[in-house]
């Protein structure tokens, strides 16, 4: 008896609180967009999405609802369901690669809701799912521009006699030996090479998207190995901090590290998601179809560079403007096969793994007219070629 009463009392406590609260629902806007984020603003990766979502919802006048800390599991499907059934969302967006399968499951169940997913690879082959869309950006253009800034810095160091041309070696801290990272460091390298043809680069992988200690150690070991400039594709402050301590110039990613590393910060590239979010919202507003696979670029502002650091080489801004114009009008192509070799030879054909399948089959010819077209056959990167001049000191596929 006591126990039952005690139980009742405890239940009443929980539900009693439920009953006494007022009805505080805000006014209804006509369109509601639900965002699913892997972490929250404490992660630079998610912060980049969250800030863009706020800005885009503000500018288009729609209501934003977010769910943060949603892991890459069934929880993503549940989150989508809740956003639709409880918050009445008309569009659902998820920001992490691993959300894709679970988001597709929800897309099947709610054909009237549009589902958009960043970094995914399956929308272009899932032809029966008309309401599921992928998006990414030609971020390699940004990396190439950042590489140009790095190249100019190297050239300044060579011209001032600080290093010889033979000592012009850069270091790169990558997360995993995946196409997304490989495409990134290769474009960065090619940008630098367009200024200093002799440049070499060493790459180390940490096996994690976010591990401050490992990234710091990897950057330090690259510096110890003779690298005179460092860049990275991982989300922590590890590499920039190591560079600031060692007074080695650094090109960062996903946002400026200028405030924390004023002496060594050169520039940073990032994807600006505002153009995509605005596009996605406006298409739904106008009853138009959202592209199945969307890739933003420099032209529409999806690929962006931060401000330049105070220690960049003289004339950097001017040079950047010319290269940027060239990338925009197509006179410069990042993965032009004239600019790199593989095992000493020019590449004429390459089958890339574009369509997702269990066997990672190479299914699509990516080179046309001497140019490797990245993010053309699908928005998610698929350039995974190891080119001459770049040495992979280790590899990490996540094992």
């Amino acid at each position: 008896m006591k126990k039952i009463l005690a139980l009742l009392l405890a239940v009443v406590m929980v539900f009693g609180l439920a009953a006494c609260a007022g009805n505080g629902a805000g006014k209804e806007e006509d369109l509601v967009v639900g965002f699913i984020f892997l972490h929250d603003e404490q992660s630079t990766y998610d912060k980049n999405f969250i800030d863009a979502a706020k800005a885009a919802c503000e500018s288009t006048g729609v209501k934003m609802v977010q769910k943060t800390q949603i892991p890459e599991s069934e929880a993503c499907y549940d989150a989508a369901k809740e956003l639709i059934e409880v918050e009445g969302c008309d569009i659902i967006f998820a920001d992490s690669f691993g959300h894709e399968s679970f988001l597709m499951k929800a897309a099947k169940e709610y054909p009237d809701v549009e589902f958009c997913h960043a970094t995914g690879t399956q929308a272009h082959t899932a032809t029966d799912l008309k309401n599921f869309h992928n998006a990414f950006a030609h971020i390699y253009q940004g990396r190439y521009l950042a590489g140009v800034v790095a190249g100019l810095k190297l050239k300044e160091m060579i011209d001032s006699g600080k290093i010889t041309a033979a000592q012009a070696k850069m270091g790169y801290v990558g997360a995993f030996t995946f196409a997304e990272v490989m495409s990134g460091y290769t474009s960065f390298y090619l940008g630098a090479k367009s200024i200093v043809p002799e440049v070499k680069m060493d790459v180390r992988f940490t096996g994690s998207w976010y591990d401050e200690q490992l990234e710091k150690q990897a950057a330090q070991s690259l510096i110890d190995g003779g690298c005179v400039l460092i860049s990275q594709h991982a989300d922590s402050m590890g590499a920039p901090t190591a560079c600031e301590n060692a007074k080695v110039p650094n090109v960062s990613y996903n946002g400026s590290t200028n405030a924390a590393c004023p002496e060594t910060f050169l520039v940073s590239s990032r994807i600006n998601w505002v153009p995509y979010f605005e596009y996605m919202i406006n298409q739904v507003k106008n009853d138009a179809e959202i592209a199945i696979d969307w890739a933003g670029d420099l032209k529409n502002g999806s690929v962006a560079l931060t401000e330049l650091g105070k220690n960049v080489a003289a004339g950097t801004a001017e040079k950047l403007a010319t290269v940027e114009a060239g990338l925009k009008d197509g006179t410069i192509n990042v993965f032009d096969t004239a600019n790199f070799t593989v095992k000493g030879e020019k590449l004429t054909t390459y089958m890339a793994d574009v369509n997702t399948d269990a066997d990672f089959a190479k299914d699509t010819e990516a080179i046309e007219n001497g140019i490797f077209y990245e993010s053309k056959h699908r928005s998610g990167p698929y350039f995974d070629i190891e080119i001459d001049g770049i040495t992979l000191l280790d590899r990490n596929y996540g094992e």
Binding site: A6, L9, A25, D40, I50, Q69, E74
Partner: protein, 371 residues
């Protein structure tokens, strides 16, 4: 000299704390209720300062987070989710409780549940050409066995060598996490996510994927209540917990009880993993259990080791977590906010036990004439 002595005797401390056993049960619950209310109010005021909205709006947001728009006539989507989260937390709480009653500090429910999930996942992915119902049964059995084995290992070491079970079970969590990480990489061929598979999954009752999980845990709760309270084995657990020497004296095989109880503990935790993997997720990763195995330790204590009270406490903790997450998302606060909210309320709940077990008396402030 004598004068000094008498003076000292008249000095009474400002606060006297005495143990008490005479508190009427409803008074104890009144204290607990008051503690929760004060906790909620304090948490509400902290939230008001952070969000700059009224107390009512903060609470209505929390309710929206846990129950959706149920009270505004909306769908029961969130209520089901709430019951599912409560059920899983309760299942893990039930898992650690038999061991706790024996004063065996099993801090390994997280790992035992992960192993349970891993067992089910391996069965679902690797077995081929088995009748569907048998496939499901095998997945459930393998999962429970994996969980039980993960509970058995530290129990054997405790029984044979007297190793510290707290450290041992904690370490086993890390081993389980790494095993799951390793399996995910093999099974997903280097991608970091195992795509959901339907083979060997538990059936869905009444078109509501959480219903079976909730029912299974409810049954487990009732069975465990009777097992602990009315069975011979339950009595043996209580005696071993009170005093191992007494247990030995009256002819209880202490080693056997320790091992048997930890196998049960691990099996129930394994069941929680099975419910998560074969029941709802149909996939596994290192975050599948999401730290609930540790929360369960606290809930077991909060629930005074009584399955029914633990159910209510699980509901309270889940309500706080889901509600705070909604407030954090609505007002762009980060995840630390949810931890603070849950922390504040639970601190009050735990703290009030002090006032239930001890009486606090203040010195009567009579003005004494001083010479």
């Amino acid at each position: 000299m004598a004068d000094v002595m008498t003076k000292k005797h008249t000095h009474e401390p400002a606060i006297t704390i005495a143990k008490r056993d005479d508190l009427v049960w409803w008074k104890a619950w009144l204290i607990r209720l008051a503690a929760i209310l004060i906790g909620f109010l304090l948490m509400g005021f902290v939230s008001m300062m952070l969000t700059k909205v009224s107390l009512g709006e903060v609470f209505s947001m929390m309710i929206r987070g846990a129950f959706g728009r149920l009270f505004e006539g909306g769908k029961a989507t969130m209520l089901w989710k709430f019951l599912q989260e409560t059920a899983i937390l309760l299942c893990l709480t039930l898992a650690v409780t038999p061991a706790f009653r024996m004063k065996f500090w099993n801090c390994g429910a997280e790992g035992q549940a992960l192993m349970g999930g891993l067992g089910a996942m391996i069965c679902m992915l690797e077995l081929d050409g088995v009748t569907p119902w048998l496939h499901t049964v095998l997945a459930v059995v393998l999962g429970i066995v994996f969980g039980a084995v993960w509970g058995l290992i530290p129990a054997l070491f405790k029984a044979w060598y007297g190793t510290n079970e707290t450290l041992f079970t904690l370490m086993m969590n890390y081993v389980a996490t790494q095993l799951v990480a390793y399996y995910v990489l093999i099974a997903s061929k280097g991608l970091t996510v195992i795509r959901p598979v339907e083979t060997g999954a538990l059936p869905v009752l009444g078109n509501q994927k959480f219903l079976l999980n909730i029912l299974v845990v409810a049954v487990t709760m009732v069975v465990l209540f009777f097992y602990l309270k009315y069975s011979k084995q339950g009595y043996e657990i209580a005696v071993v917990g009170e005093s191992q020497n007494t247990a030995r004296y009256i002819g209880i095989n202490v080693k056997k009880v320790i091992i048997r109880t930890m196998v049960i503990s691990g099996a129930i935790a394994g069941l929680a993993g099975v419910l998560l993997v074969a029941g709802t997720d149909h996939s596994i990763n290192t975050h599948t259990v999401g730290g609930l195995g540790f929360t369960a330790i606290m809930v077991s204590w909060l629930g005074l080791f009584n399955p029914y009270i633990m159910a209510a406490m699980s509901a309270l903790v889940v309500f706080l977590n889901m509600g705070a997450a909604k407030v954090a998302d609505t007002f762009f606060l980060n995840s630390s906010y949810a931890d603070i909210v849950a922390g504040v309320v639970i601190l009050f709940v735990v703290g009030c036990e002090f006032f239930i077990r001890y009486s606090v008396k203040f010195r009567h402030t009579k003005k004494e004439a001083r010479s």
